[in-house]
Symmetry: C2
Subunit: 459 residues, 2 copies
């Protein structure tokens, strides 16, 4: 704020609509650069009420989010309340386990509580003198020409109008800011739902807050057309999510009574069901969430409105990258501000959407693709063998082969590049695997020769 | 209305939002079945003011629309004010012409004035005692649970609420009814714009209202990346439409001054430009229209709201099928009412969307595909040769080969079936054409043998 008196531009506050994860992190980034930031949030203050309504309780934090959190100095604090998950553990229909490490030694994704993370970011943002957050402000409409937000204060029931010069829409998958852009000329937009819904359930903590399943893992019960996953919580419990068809023989529609639910879980998740004493209550009390992919373009309106996070690119949760992608938006925007200076908004908005759009599209595709992998392919021994062989190639050719999952999760390679490289590697694996029946076959001269040839062409 | 006193269901009016082409035709169909129909339209009465705002002036009416118009007894009246177009005439950059008949002898599409058609349908609808049309009623929102429309009367400025039991959304590509459905759970939606806009222009009538180009034709100036078309009017003029990129070396962005416009038209449309004395004024006064494809699903909400026409499936204009598809919606709905009876709305709504959705998707794809054909392929002598050979096969194998264009335009084959058959025939033509250099080659024994083989496999 040192230049506030010398520049009217700097004194004009930036406006952020939405104080969820991306909105609160973005506000922090903008405030650290000296901009006055006015934040509006539809929901009440989560530090007073909790605002989880229908959202996942746990998030899988990986490298892109860590980098964004490091940029505002909060990564270490968050890591201390996260639980490292270094592997997938698959539970088959007999309760037998198989294991797949996520990356190399020491690499892990982190189970973090969404509410805690959001509250921490809000606390940090509000601690800055140049940030003001107003909760309970529903956006009823936006006059894009006059640069005015029409807001409804939910406490007083009064409508009020707020001017903005620069508006950042971080108000999520059902963004009101995007809704205003959608009505402008030539705005491409799509929202597409999977035929699957999800239900959040709980595996109870054991005695003295112990974990009844392996703590440092993401658990998957892959069942072909559907699956359940579980992420560890600090209190010893696991937050489970059932991803399940809306309709069909095994579906939400087919489970109508408590007895049907229990019978079904006993039959298909026999090792989990005994750990879920609240199953019947939770199944019927918790809402069934839907799974949407939102794409749009442009992400900006003139030089004064910009969409970030889910508002620009909501994706399904199967790669654990929704928040990571939204946080990476903040990193990229901050880099562009470094590069072009804090007054070059037209350039920055244009470059931001140009750079991020293909990556948002790629992670949207990857997330849908990974649903099939998680609910089906991870149960196939050939798939697990493939992952082991890939790890061997990666070790033998350092820096020349990074598995797709690692590129997405443990690198900052743009998603679109990761996806392209992953498809190339998948094609190579499809040619190699017919020659490999077990892990040891990798050392055979014939296989080594094939790998050598493939790597020579891969370049 | 004969059973109005014996049935409360029949006394409950059906509500139609939108009195454009599809809304007014639908109202007529419903009213003829005895239902009281309440119609609301955002715009003022077009019979008093004209409501063309940014819409095409001419429509190409073909068999699907004729059948729908016959169903309400108005086809002959409309045909008398239409102009038959039995062929495409292509104008090259030197003003040379080439010709391509649209179908067999006597087959034609008809150039019809949109305003006239709309007014005629409205007159017919309002002539029925059980139809009430209210103009200047903007739909501000819909309470789907309470089945209430929130309307703004543009004359008085007063908002009012109207209950409905059955609501038909025929309010076009930017449908407010669809806007309400879009906010419900699991509603798939996309709007996608081409990178092209369009501009309506005029070729003047000649002396004494004569036509300065061949009257009974659709004229095309195909130029690869862009094109102009012209449809005849009754007064001797032609309504031209330039389909042109928004940006690039030859684009709306590149034509900024009257002199640039005239120079450009003289260079690329040398035979048309002298016939367009109002070109410079029209180019800058007329709005640049955008070209959107809208897809969504479901088309219904519970058993009480149904979308039809552009509200459900807006398409680009390059197959001349937008209105035809919307009118076919009315035909299909009327057939389902015949089949299931006028009280079976749940069944009818469900079957309607099930039956029509794949066909709407197919014509949306076909319309985009035909843009490339019209602006580029029709200028290729090989393409015109292919069309001639196809006509010969069609004549030699009656009932076994109908060109794709004919299936779409001169048949009632569902669009999805037409598209599938068209793709199969296109593959056959791709195999035959290397053996054919000129029209006469078709009679060669080798070619006849190949055709015979292909037709045997085609089945």
């Amino acid at each position: 704020m040192s230049n506030a008196s010398s520049s009217t531009a700097a004194a004009e506050p930036l406006t952020v609509m939405g104080a969820g994860l991306v909105g609160s992190l973005l506000s922090l980034y903008l405030a650290r650069r000296g901009h006055p930031v006015q934040v509006f949030e539809r929901r009440p203050d989560p530090r007073r009420t909790g605002f989880l309504e229908g959202r996942s309780i746990n998030l899988a934090v990986s490298d892109r989010a860590w980098r964004a959190l490091e940029g505002v100095g909060v990564a270490d604090d968050i890591r201390q309340v996260g639980i490292a998950m270094s592997q997938r553990i698959m539970h088959d229909a007999k309760g037998q386990l198989s294991y797949q490490p996520y990356g190399e030694d020491g690499q892990a994704i982190y189970s973090v509580n969404r509410g805690h993370l959001n509250r921490t970011l809000l606390d940090l943002a509000e601690a800055r003198p140049n940030v003001q957050v107003r909760f309970g402000q529903q956006c009823l409409g936006i006059d894009l020409r006059r640069q005015q937000l029409q807001l409804l204060d939910s406490e007083s029931g009064q409508e009020h109008t707020e001017k903005y010069t620069r508006l950042f829409g971080t108000d999520g998958a059902f963004s009101a800011v995007r809704g205003a852009l959608q009505k402008t000329e030539r705005f491409d937009y799509s929202q597409h739902y999977l035929e699957y819904g999800y239900k959040e359930l709980t595996i109870e903590a054991g005695p003295d807050g112990s974990w009844q399943l392996e703590k440092n893992a993401l658990h998957i019960w892959p069942r072909g057309q559907y699956m359940m996953i579980a992420l560890p919580n600090l209190d010893g419990s696991f937050n489970c999510t059932l991803f399940f068809p809306y309709d069909g023989p095994e579906s939400f529609a087919s489970l109508q009574t408590p007895a049907q639910v229990t019978d079904f879980f006993r039959r298909v998740f026999p090792d989990a069901e005994p750990l879920m004493p609240e199953l019947e209550r939770e199944f019927f009390e918790h809402p069934t969430g839907s799974l949407v992919t939102v794409r749009c373009f442009p992400w900006k309106y003139d030089d004064d409105v910009l969409l970030l996070g889910d508002a620009a690119h909501a994706i399904v949760p199967f790669y654990g990258q929704g928040m990571n992608a939204g946080f990476e938006d903040c990193t990229v925007l901050n880099e562009l501000l470094d590069q072009h200076g804090d007054a070059a908004w037209p350039t920055i908005f244009a470059e931001f959407q140009q750079q991020r759009k293909p990556n948002a599209d790629a992670i949207a595709d990857l997330a849908v693709y990974n649903f099939v992998e998680m609910r089906d392919r991870v149960a196939d021994p050939r798939f697990l063998l493939q992952k082991k062989i890939e790890a061997k190639i990666s070790a033998q050719y350092p820096g020349r082969w990074m598995p797709l999952y690692s590129q997405v999760t443990f690198s900052h390679t743009p998603y679109a590049e990761a996806w392209a490289a992953g498809q190339q590697q998948e094609a190579i694996m499809a040619r190699l695997l017919p020659h490999i029946q077990q892990e040891a076959d990798y050392e055979r001269a014939e296989v080594q020769e094939l790998v050598k040839q493939e790597m020579a062409v891969k370049g």
